[in-house]
């Protein structure tokens, strides 16, 4: 089944959309979640939350590339779960627990300032990434967007691990300089 057909199922509010999504993208999304959480149970829960988020966001969204859209949702959900879990570990106080519980009441746990700043920064990072050679860009996005291990990145980019590592090191330094020039406090 093509992406457009699956999206159509979501728009028709047909519940088979979720089972089809699970069948086609389940493994893919679990890999993204596991790269972030390193925990099978948490990853599975994040992927389930992704299906729910997809159900709630389509409509109004009509993504062209479903894998990218779902991957983005999974990434955000898994990162939130990671932060929540680690905050609980660091501050095992009732206050921290209550804050975490209250976060569930919000549709987006991030403050508007945080979201605005992240979006501005994202635009700059996108512009920066477009200045890079393709290989370098792929390695950077593979590592910091998909959070793939270096070994996997080297394999799908067709290079050695050491080369990927060197590219990442240089790109981080370049990004820092770029963001400074753009006026971000780094």
């Amino acid at each position: 089944m093509q992406d457009q057909d699956i999206v159509e199922l979501y728009w028709l509010r047909d519940e088979t959309a979720i089972s089809v999504t699970e069948e086609i993208y389940g493994h893919y999304l679990t890999t993204i979640a596991f790269n972030i959480l390193n925990d099978s149970e948490d990853s599975a829960e994040s992927v389930n939350d992704t299906y729910l988020a997809a159900w709630n966001s389509m409509p109004p969204h009509k993504p062209n590339v479903l894998s990218t859209y779902l991957g983005k949702l999974t990434r955000r959900i898994a990162v939130d779960r990671f932060r929540k879990k680690h905050r609980q570990k660091r501050y095992a106080s009732e206050y921290a627990v209550s804050l975490t519980e209250l976060e569930d009441c919000l549709s987006d746990n991030r403050s508007p300032e945080h979201t605005a700043e992240a979006q501005l920064l994202a635009d700059s990072i996108s512009a920066f990434l477009r200045t890079l050679p393709k290989d370098t860009r792929h390695v950077f996005i593979g590592r910091y967007y998909f959070l793939d291990p270096l070994k996997d990145i080297a394999a799908y980019c067709g290079m050695s691990e050491s080369k990927a590592k060197t590219l990442l090191f240089r790109t981080r330094a370049k990004l820092k300089e770029y963001l400074k020039k753009e006026g971000f406090v780094v």
Binding site: Y28, V65, S67, T68, Y69, G71, K72, R75, R76, V79, R83, R110, H114, T115, E117, A118, Q119, L120, L121, A122, I125, S126, L129, R130, K134, R137, H138, I141, G142, Y144, Y145, F146, D148, D152, A154, A155, Y156, C157, G158, M159, S160, F184, V185, V186
Partner: protein
């Protein structure tokens, strides 16, 4: 800027950038070792094409004959590459032995080991532009050069005339040979760049020529 903001920002980069990598990740990819094997194959194929091409050009007379230079022995390489470079020993092409150089053995080996594009001739007449000669031996047996043929010999602009070898140095001159260098009746060894046939006349354009010495 906090690390969380930076991380969230990366999560919000343009979708087309993400799609590009997403497609790459989802495509079945080859192991790095296979990529290297593939690259090595390409390099090997290119090297093979270059070698075959160089041989083909050499046969067509478009390149100096490099086979002869190496097969006659290191002494000959010296003679061609740097005529004034001292030579103390060389490897004979027939036996593969390393020999202390002397004039007579070098030329004897040259005659015995005529290789591609090298021709042995006997000078029979001198003209204003070169000389006439009878072909005594032609290892490559080019279609236009046959043993016993009478040919004309012309000299290229970069002609190098090799003279005697005193045991340490090849004596050479960057000019065409004169009748005094190669009198009529002399056996000469020459390397040519091209052969031209007009009617029955075959002209060999030599770029190296030397008198050949008989084996003692």
């Amino acid at each position: 800027m906090s690390l969380d903001v930076l991380h969230d920002a990366i999560g919000r980069i343009d979708e087309d950038l993400v799609e590009e990598v997403d497609a790459l990740r989802r495509k079945p990819h080859q192991a790095v070792v296979w990529i290297w094997i593939r690259r090595a194959s390409v390099i090997a194929a290119c090297a093979a094409v270059l070698i075959v091409g160089a041989f083909a050009l050499s046969h067509a007379g478009l390149l100096p004959p490099f086979v002869a230079n190496f097969s006659v022995g290191s002494l000959h390489e010296y003679a061609v590459d740097d005529v004034n470079q001292a030579v103390v020993e060389y490897t004979t092409p027939s036996s593969g032995e390393t020999v202390q150089g002397d004039e007579y053995s070098y030329y004897a080996q040259s005659i015995e080991s005529i290789e591609e594009s090298a021709v042995t001739v006997e000078i029979i007449a001198w003209t204003d532009t070169g000389c006439h000669a009878t072909v005594l031996e032609s290892a490559d047996d080019l279609k236009d050069i046959h043993v016993g043929d009478t040919v004309e010999i012309a000299f290229t602009d970069d002609i190098l005339t090799l003279f005697s070898f005193d045991g340490t140095t090849i004596v050479a001159a960057e000019r065409a040979p004169t009748p005094a260098d190669l009198p009529i009746g002399t056996t000469a060894l020459l390397w040519h760049k091209r052969v031209e046939c007009v009617g029955d006349t075959v002209t060999i354009y030599a770029y190296r020529i030397s008198p050949a010495y008989e084996t003692k």
